[in-house]
Each structure stands twice: as structure tokens, then as C-alpha cells.
């Protein structure tokens, strides 16, 4: 049943997101074309407009992926559509997992589209070399491979997004347990959960810092003294995020399993 739920959740997102994906790619292609032609005044104006549109679409994709995932979660569980979702012969855990997996898939798709759009618009041999050298500069300093650096960086970005996503789900579940001011309380609970999760990450890094001078240096110094501290910070943050996301998903499912109260 999870597969069937996921199928319809993905269909919903495809319907709502595909237009932004297409527009981002189209504006990126136009920008690329206009960058390669002679920069007359008109060409420059059009190029600036399409570049602005492309960046607007990129920002739109990032924000919309998160917002749409929250809206989908709320609408299909707590609004009119909830009359169907909550009466399907499926468990609450399956409903929750479907929404979460759908959001994860679209985070990855959206990320690929964003990178692809920027690459289409600007990437050439010189910029590619510049980017490689830039990353090499960082990875040499950190004494890690480029692959490890990129996967670590993407890992942190995605875990941060998943954490924000789940804090939103948590806020919606708690907010819609109340009888009044449900939207406002959802936002409030979501922010509290997000703030708490960030504080936990920071607090745990600080605790590790009590036993590791280089990590404590991140709190006490204005400049990076040891690159090893950054490596520990990355690894530690990822582990803490994974644990927080896992624990919060258990809490969300427990709360959801206690039942809903539809208007």
C-alpha cells in the first residue's frame, strides 16, 4: 500500500512542480544562447531578464519543494482530502512514510534541476577548471578527497533540508491536534521544533568540544586553527542530524497514530 500512496503523492508533486522545472531549464538555455551572441544593448537587456527569471525559478524550485511537501501533507491528512486519506485501508505510518519519501525524492530531483539549470546557463571549460581548482584548494586544506568533500557537503545540505521538512510535519501534526488557530500553531510548533533541533546539534558539538580542543576552537577562535575540526564538525553534524531525523519521525508517527481530528 505504501507504493500506491507514494504513486499518488509523486503524481501530485509532478503536476505541481514540472512547470517550474521546465521554465528553469528554458530560461537557462535562453541565457546560454544570449551569452554566446554579440552583447548588443537589446541582447544584454534580454539576457539580464532571462538570467533574473532563471534565478527566480531556481529559488522558486527550492522554496516550492519544501512548501508543497508541507501543503500536501496538511491537505491530504487534515483538510477535505483527509476524509479520503484517513479512511483508506492503510496505516498512519504508511501515510507518513509516503509523504516523507515523496519529499525526499523531490528534494533530489529539484537539486538536480537547479544544478542542471546553472550548468546549462554558465558552465564552460574555463569555469569548470576554475570550479575544480576551487574545490581542490579546499580539499587540499582539509586533507580529504574531492569526492568525499562533495558528498559530505551535499549530505549536510540534504540532511538540513530533511530536518526542516520534518520539523514542518511535526508542527502540522501538533498544530492540527488543537481545536483553534491550527495554522498559526502549526507554524509556531514547526519553528520551535526547528530551533530545538538546531540547538541540539550545536549543544552536542559543544559537548564534543569539551573533550576535543580543535572542535572547541570553532567556538572560541575567530579563525580556523585546525582543519581537522571542520572534518569532525561535518561528520558529527551528519550523525546528529540522522539521529534527530530518526527520533523525530518516530515522534511524528506516534502522534499521528493517536488519531486525527478533522473539522
Amino acid at each position: 500500500m505504501l507504493g500506491k500512496l507514494l504513486k499518488y503523492d509523486l503524481k501530485y508533486m509532478i503536476k505541481n512542480m514540472s512547470v517550474f522545472y521546465i521554465l528553469a531549464i528554458v530560461f537557462a538555455i535562453i541565457t546560454r544562447i544570449l551569452l554566446s551572441v554579440e552583447q548588443t544593448i537589446i541582447a544584454t537587456i534580454i539576457k539580464n531578464i532571462t538570467t533574473g527569471c532563471m534565478y527566480a525559478m531556481v529559488a522558486n524550485i527550492i522554496i516550492n519543494t519544501l512548501m508543497r511537501s508541507w501543503v500536501r501533507f496538511r491537505d491530504s491528512i487534515y483538510k477535505d482530502e483527509g476524509y479520503l486519506t484517513n479512511t483508506l485501508p492503510v496505516t498512519k505510518n504508511q501515510i507518513y512514510n509516503s509523504k516523507f519519501i515523496q519529499a525526499l525524492i523531490f528534494f533530489i530531483v529539484s537539486f538536480v534541476i537547479v544544478i542542471l539549470s546553472i550548468a546549462i546557463a554558465y558552465l564552460n571549460k574555463d569555469r569548470w577548471e576554475l570550479l575544480k581548482n576551487y574545490i581542490k584548494g579546499i580539499t587540499t586544506g582539509l586533507e580529504i578527497s574531492s569526492g568525499l568533500f562533495i558528498s559530505g557537503f551535499l549530505g549536510i545540505v540534504f540532511l538540513e533540508m530533511f530536518n526542516a521538512l520534518q520539523c514542518g510535519f511535526f508542527g502540522i501534526i501538533l498544530g492540527y491536534k488543537q481545536n483553534n488557530n491550527r495554522v498559526a500553531l502549526s507554524v509556531l510548533f514547526g519553528f520551535i521544533a526547528y530551533f530545538a533541533s538546531q540547538s541540539i546539534v550545536l549543544a552536542l558539538v559543544f559537548i564534543v568540544g569539551l573533550f576535543n580542543e580543535s572542535v572547541m576552537g570553532l567556538f572560541t577562535n575567530t579563525v580556523l586553527l585546525e582543519t581537522g575540526a571542520l572534518k569532525i564538525l561535518f561528520a558529527l553534524s551528519m550523525i546528529i542530524y540522522i539521529i534527530i531525523i530518526w527520533i523525530m519521525s518516530i515522534i511524528c508517527k506516534k502522534l499521528l497514530n493517536k488519531g486525527v481530528n478533522l473539522e
Binding site: 500506491k4 482530502e81 476524509y83 479520503l84 484517513n86 479512511t87 485501508p89 492503510v90 496505516t91
Partner: protein
């Protein structure tokens, strides 16, 4: 869990409060197989709250609900076909997509029957729900609900906001589309319209069940139609 006393639905000491307001007060009743039951009461009596609780759309404050001996959950949802009092389908979907959706999730959904009923109603199955009127959407929902081979059909105000001709069609659709062993609960305050099809009635008032009776016995005992008895009982 075993089936309790051959009852399809058992509601035991059910209470529901919103903040400090008690909407359902210690409600207990049972429903056997093969009956059409009218859940009758004035507006705000607690009919929809009771129905939502049976369908897992509200969490009870206390009490128990059993369907075929099972607590409310996946198993109960397999055998209950529920028509809410509002349009609840994703309006971005076409009718054909909704049919596929029901076929995907409900093993007892008869897609061919649904297509036939929709055709009888002159509804275009290629049309998006957002392009349909509210009345048309309600008909689609009724068809979906009645095209399941369920044990218990729960219809919340199926006649609300529809013209008299359509009311007759809805009642005929209900009568001709459920199997003998299934039961139907119809919640309404339009009693005269549904009286002809009811086997039993449950009167609910201020969150309490005030009467549960066989329709024929009640008419004989009180010497009047169900509509008249209801009016006498709940006279303002």
C-alpha cells in the same frame, strides 16, 4: 478479535468532547447486518461527530467502537464505505483517475459498475473534478461509495443540497447497490424523503441516543410516520 453477538457495528460508552464541550455523551448502540438505519437528529445533535468517530476522522475521548469485532483501523476501513457530507476528492484529478485510485486502494471496488453508474448519470469520466459543479461531484462520490461491495455503508447527509428528483435517484441508487448482508447508516434531517427505505431508526439528540427502534414497530406504537414522530419528539 471475534465478532461480538453477530453485530456488524458495536458502539460502547462513546464520549467525545471538544475542549470542555461534550458533544457525545456515553453513546452505546449496535447495528446488525442487512439493515438500513436512519441516524436522525436535529442540526448539531452529534450525528456527524458519531460518523466521523466510526470512520477514524475524530479521536474518541473515551469508549470503544468495533466493526465486525475489530477496533477502528485498517480492517474496519476495508469494510466501511463512507460518504462524507462534503466533497473530498482531489479536484485536480479526472474522474477516470479517481476510479483508478479507488480500484488501487479498495479490493472490493467494482470499477465497471462505477463506470456504468456514471454513464447512467451522463457524467463525463474524462472530465476534471474541478470543472464539475458541486452537485456533479457529489454524484461522483455517491457512485464511488456505492460501487464498493462493503459490509457497512455510512452516508452522511447524502440528500443535503440536492433537488427532489436527484434525491429519488440517490435513494434508488442506494437501494439497488448494496448487498443483502450489508447495512447502511444514513444520517439526515430530511426524514420524509428517506422514510420509505428505512428498516430501523436511531434518534440522537444533544449527544445522546434517545431512541433506537424498528420502523414498523415504531409507526404502529406511536401511530404516525417516522417524520411525524420525530417532529413531535423534537418540537422546539
Amino acid at each position: 478479535m471475534s465478532k461480538d453477538n453477530n453485530n456488524l457495528l458495536e458502539v460502547k460508552n462513546l464520549k467525545k468532547s471538544f475542549d470542555k464541550k461534550e458533544v457525545l455523551k456515553d453513546v452505546s448502540f449496535s447495528i446488525p447486518n442487512g439493515k438500513i438505519i436512519g441516524l436522525l437528529g436535529k442540526n448539531g445533535a452529534g450525528k456527524t461527530t458519531l460518523i466521523k468517530l466510526i470512520n477514524d476522522l475524530l479521536t474518541p475521548t473515551s469508549g470503544e467502537i468495533l466493526v465486525n469485532g475489530n477496533k477502528i483501523g485498517v480492517e474496519s476501513k476495508k469494510v466501511i464505505s463512507y460518504l462524507p457530507e462534503r466533497t473530498y476528492l482531489n479536484k485536480q484529478m479526472k474522474v477516470t483517475e479517481v476510479l483508478n485510485y479507488f480500484e488501487d486502494f479498495y479490493e472490493n471496488f467494482d470499477k465497471e459498475k462505477a463506470e456504468k453508474l456514471l454513464k447512467d448519470l451522463d457524467l463525463d469520466i474524462t472530465q476534471k473534478l474541478s470543472k464539475m459543479s458541486k452537485g456533479m461531484q457529489e454524484k461522483v462520490q455517491l457512485v464511488l461509495v456505492m460501487s464498493r461491495k462493503a459490509d457497512l455503508y455510512i452516508l452522511d447527509e447524502p440528500l443535503g443540497g440536492v433537488d427532489p428528483a436527484t434525491r429519488d435517484y440517490i435513494l434508488d441508487t442506494i437501494l439497488s447497490n448494496f448487498n443483502e448482508n450489508a447495512s447502511v447508516i444514513i444520517s439526515t434531517h430530511l426524514i420524509s424523503d428517506i422514510e420509505r427505505i428505512l428498516d430501523e431508526v436511531i434518534f440522537i439528540d444533544k449527544g445522546k441516543i434517545v431512541l433506537q427502534s424498528d420502523c414498523d414497530q415504531l409507526r404502529k406504537k406511536e401511530n404516525g410516520s417516522i417524520d411525524e414522530i420525530f417532529r413531535r419528539m423534537f418540537k422546539c
